[in-house]
Subunit: 226 residues, 2 copies
């Protein structure tokens, strides 16, 4: 059985951990301070259950440290905020990452100024930064272009008639991620080639954020047509 | 009758000038050096007619200087390369631009290094730069997200089932541009709000360029679905 290490306990981490557990996977969810995360009994946003409540209703998800989630997993999911991804991966060290698949969902957005801003773009990307830092890690950029709910349930938008873009240097890793996406309901998966395609996938966030603002909902995506 | 001033004689300028003339508009096409442009009798690319040949078969298009094309027109089309757009608009001066609509199709791509690169992005855009330089000009960002052939014939891709994004500060100008796009066959037009949305529309080019490379054709677009 595949063991998944989901890094991050926010909306994206919860969506992925829940969906992977529902698929029958073993899921270790990594966080910085396990006790502090468990103690989060207040909802972070109206309508969103508290982390403690969410964890209680997802008993196949095992909460642990970042390092432990990485060491014990076959496939990692980077659901951290992009600004912290490299620090978090460093917690386990390069040896623990060697040969593993990392599904990089994060976007290098700086939330500190109030206005979301990409911190790397055009000539570089977070996906490439992670791949350069850990050459033995098999990074696959995926799912960063849609909101958490759509990542794991693409049918929730237009009956699933839209596109998931993926990119990475390792074809076998992309095949594994492609299968995983199909298990979530994605039918149209567009491989954009090597990890440098993460530049375009992350730059798209500037358009996505404006789309969300204009449409008044994050429940949308684009379908590639030709 | 609306007089259009198409700035630029490349593939985009020709596509727009041809389509606007076919719509019954009067079209002035601006270039830096009229005699030199007329003298271009060699095809620039295999399969593409020379400029002289193209002009001969589009007799409703009147070739003139940038300044003259701007002064005499009601609606301007910025089909220049993005790096030169500001210089070209300066040729006619701010008074000539005041109150006019400019459809800004250009992308701020630097072609000089061999690898296409956005020169402004994330925090700014070419659309905004032009709007700031000429506050009286009514800039509408449009059509920069597809190849020239698709701009004026959206049905050439997926029967026209895809989206044209537009942005600008002036609702009346956007309505005029929306009508024009519909006359080309666009059915799904998404207004993204004020001109700052040009950031996302231009940043998308990074994804578009990779898509073209991967698909091996520029004849594609995205459809916004929700």
């Amino acid at each position: 059985m595949t063991v998944y290490g989901v890094l991050g306990t926010g909306t994206v981490g919860r969506a992925l951990a829940g969906a992977l557990a529902a698929n029958g996977g073993e899921v270790r969810m990594g966080t910085r301070d396990v006790a502090a995360t468990r103690a989060r009994t207040e909802p972070e946003r109206p309508g969103l259950p508290s982390f403690a409540e969410w964890l209680a209703s997802n008993d196949a998800v095992h909460l642990t440290t970042f390092a432990d989630a990485i060491v014990g997993a076959d496939v990692l999911v980077n659901a951290t905020s992009g600004m912290t991804s490299l620090d978090i991966l460093a917690a386990a060290g390069a040896d623990a990452l060697d040969g593993k698949i990392l599904i990089d969902i994060a976007n290098p957005l700086d939330f500190s100024t109030g206005e979301l801003r990409l911190t790397v773009a055009i000539d570089d990307s977070l996906g490439e930064t992670i791949q350069r830092a850990y050459p033995g890690l098999r990074v696959v950029k995926a799912l960063n272009m849609v909101t958490a709910a759509v990542m794991v349930d693409p049918r929730s938008v237009a009956g699933g008639e839209h596109t998931a873009f993926i990119a990475g240097n390792d074809d076998e890793a992309k095949a594994v991620v492609g299968e995983l996406l199909r298990s979530f309901g994605w039918r149209d998966i567009q491989d954009l080639g090597d990890i440098t395609a993460a530049r375009g996938m992350e730059a798209y966030l500037v358009l996505w954020l404006r789309g969300m603002q204009t449409l008044g909902t994050p429940m949308f995506n684009v379908k590639l047509v030709r």
